[in-house]
Amino acid sequence: MISPRAVIWKTGCDIMDDLFYFIISKYNYWGAIILLFIGLYGMIVRNNLMKKIIGMVIFQTAILLFFVSIGVKRGATVPIIKFSPDKQPLLDPAAYANPLPHVLILTAIVVGVAVLGVALALLQKIQRVHGTIEEDEILEDMRK
Amino acid sequence: MILDILVIIAMLSGLLFFVATTVGIIRFPDFYSRVHAAGKGDTLSTTVFLGGTIIYLLRDFSGDTLLTAGKLLLIVFYIFIASPTATHAIIDAGYEFRVPYWTRSSTHKGTEGDEANEETMDNGFYPEDLKG
């Protein structure tokens, strides 16, 4: 005879197992999504333009994290071809991490810093012209 | 066996120094002592910890590991030069801008934190002829 308490306990344990497995197998996506929305919050809600730029940086790196984490393989190593002791290349695709997302993200990082440079130059210019970097004060200044 | 024990001792003491650095950054009363704790403790703990890593690598002696150990040694050397220099630059900048420093006053014996010691912060000892 299985008591109802035992059934509930087993169901609870199963649910916790499911949840645990869900988190463990998808946590990189979760991390990227949480950081994405923190960055979005920073870009939209915060008044200060510097905070908006920092929000943009957080947003960018969250997307890069998402993209690179797609190409990870269990048991894989750095995508640089290793050689056997008699100079033959060891070309087993399952042993190397996926190199294609890395290529795209390399480009994205450097373009990201270029965009950051332009954003900071615009920030200095806005400070010079309007005298402030708070969004509401800039809007008031522009309406004058 | 003895190399393993040495590695464990090195890494644990590196971590201990790092915890001490963190506690120092949080608990010291003013800017100068905090940066001092950060600079010294950071350098020492990183050096000791990476030294432990070097010994760990050198347990099986071969050309490969010797090369990697040499590179790690270069990293230790670089951190040893660069980190105290950065600390010096930060403190120098603070000194130029007359960041107030903490002095002990008899009415506030035993308290920590800037807020309690606000009135004992003074710029009294800056030389007048510091080039501005």
């Binding site: 197998s25 480009t107 969004e135 | -």
Partner: protein, 343 residues
């Protein structure tokens, strides 16, 4: 169900939690200098995550570019803007608070949608089984480059890299156009800095011992991009950072006497010209644009080695451009445009 975790998920979750804390702190701090430093810490943490995920080229680039250069230009810009945010946050009410509600709803929906995404680190996921095994197997035989990322970056996806070099070049030009001015009359520096003649002995000694080694290391990273993590971007950024270090340890003028502004512009343009020139040379010899095998009979070597040397040449071009762009960004941003006095 079993979870065969040969990747250390505990480490990753810890670093992710620290990153979330850093992100929230960077957005919540009142002082802008502190926010800039915390953003640098955030970049270092994500670099750590990528090293754990075996994405070493990406981690290298992020450490050099994201953690170092972007922190320096944040700090350089912070001299010219007000350094504290306004205490009064009443303007962030109303419709902006609605954004938070919508963001939370969207986040929950996206988190639910991850149920359909492939498991993390699964070797049989579609991203790892459609196209990339072909690249891993063919890259060494066709281009004689063990570093598959460099081979794909400079050979198979060479167009992307060329336009990326053009984008950073354009960014340097835009920053120069926005900020450069020559008159001092309108200079409104919010926080007066004391004038310095040069730095003191400690900084000069450290600069003298570190900068030459840094530049040699940058050249090593550039030329060893075929065999180790590295390549054009990382080498160029480290080389540019050596000039920024010179400007930080001495004066901006000191660094500018050694790497003048018009030479910086020449290097910016020259790197892109080298890259596109090699592509045009391949086109002129009868092959595709950026098809390096055209250089085989020109140089008298096999097709594989021609592609390897072509990759090296375009990496040199990218490295020159990125170096000059980082230096130019620092010159313009840290001096507020008039190139008189830096950080």
């Amino acid at each position: 169900m079993t979870w065969d975790a040969s990747l250390l998920w505990q480490f990753d979750i810890l670093v992710l939690i620290m990153m979330v804390i850093c992100a929230v702190t960077a957005l919540a701090l009142e002082g802008l200098l502190s926010s800039a430093i915390v953003t640098g810490v955030y970049s270092f943490l994500i670099c750590l995550m990528w090293t754990h995920m075996m994405a070493v080229d990406v981690a290298f680039t992020e450490a050099a570019v994201g953690a170092a250069i972007s922190t320096v230009i944040f700090l350089g810009t912070a001299q010219y803007i007000s350094r504290w945010i306004k205490k009064d946050r009443s303007k962030e009410q109303g419709i902006k608070q609605l954004t938070i509600v919508i963001a939370v709803i969207c986040a929950v929906m996206m988190l639910n949608a991850t149920r359909d995404l492939p498991d993390w680190a699964n070797p049989a996921s579609p991203a790892s089984t459609h196209l990339s095994p072909g690249y891993i197997e063919q890259a060494y035989h066709e281009t004689a480059t063990p570093n598959v990322v460099t081979a794909v970056l400079a050979d198979y996806r060479g167009y992307d890299t060329m336009f990326e070099a053009v984008v950073v070049f354009a960014a340097a030009l835009v920053v120069m156009v926005l900020l450069r001015r020559t008159s001092h009359k309108h200079r409104k520096v919010l926080h007066l800095r004391p004038k310095r003649e040069g730095r003191d002995t400690v900084l000069r000694g450290a600069a003298q011992s570190i900068i030459p080694v840094m530049q040699i290391f940058a050249l090593y990273v550039l030329f060893h991009g075929h065999y180790s993590p590295g390549g054009g971007f990382q080498g160029g950024v480290i080389f540019g950072a050596s000039f920024i270090l010179l400007a930080l340890c001495y004066n901006l003028k000191f660094s500018m006497n050694r790497f003048r502004e018009h030479l910086v512009l020449w290097c910016c343009a020259g790197g892109v010209l080298l890259y596109a020139g090699i592509g045009a040379a391949c086109l002129g010899l009868g092959w595709n644009f950026l098809g390096y095998a055209a250089l085989a009979d020109l140089l008298g070597i096999s097709g594989k080695m021609a592609r390897s040397h072509g990759i090296l040449a375009v990496e040199v071009g990218v490295g020159i451009t990125v170096m000059a762009v980082m230096v130019s960004l620092y010159y313009d941003l840290a001096s507020g445009g008039d190139l008189e006095d830096g950080l």
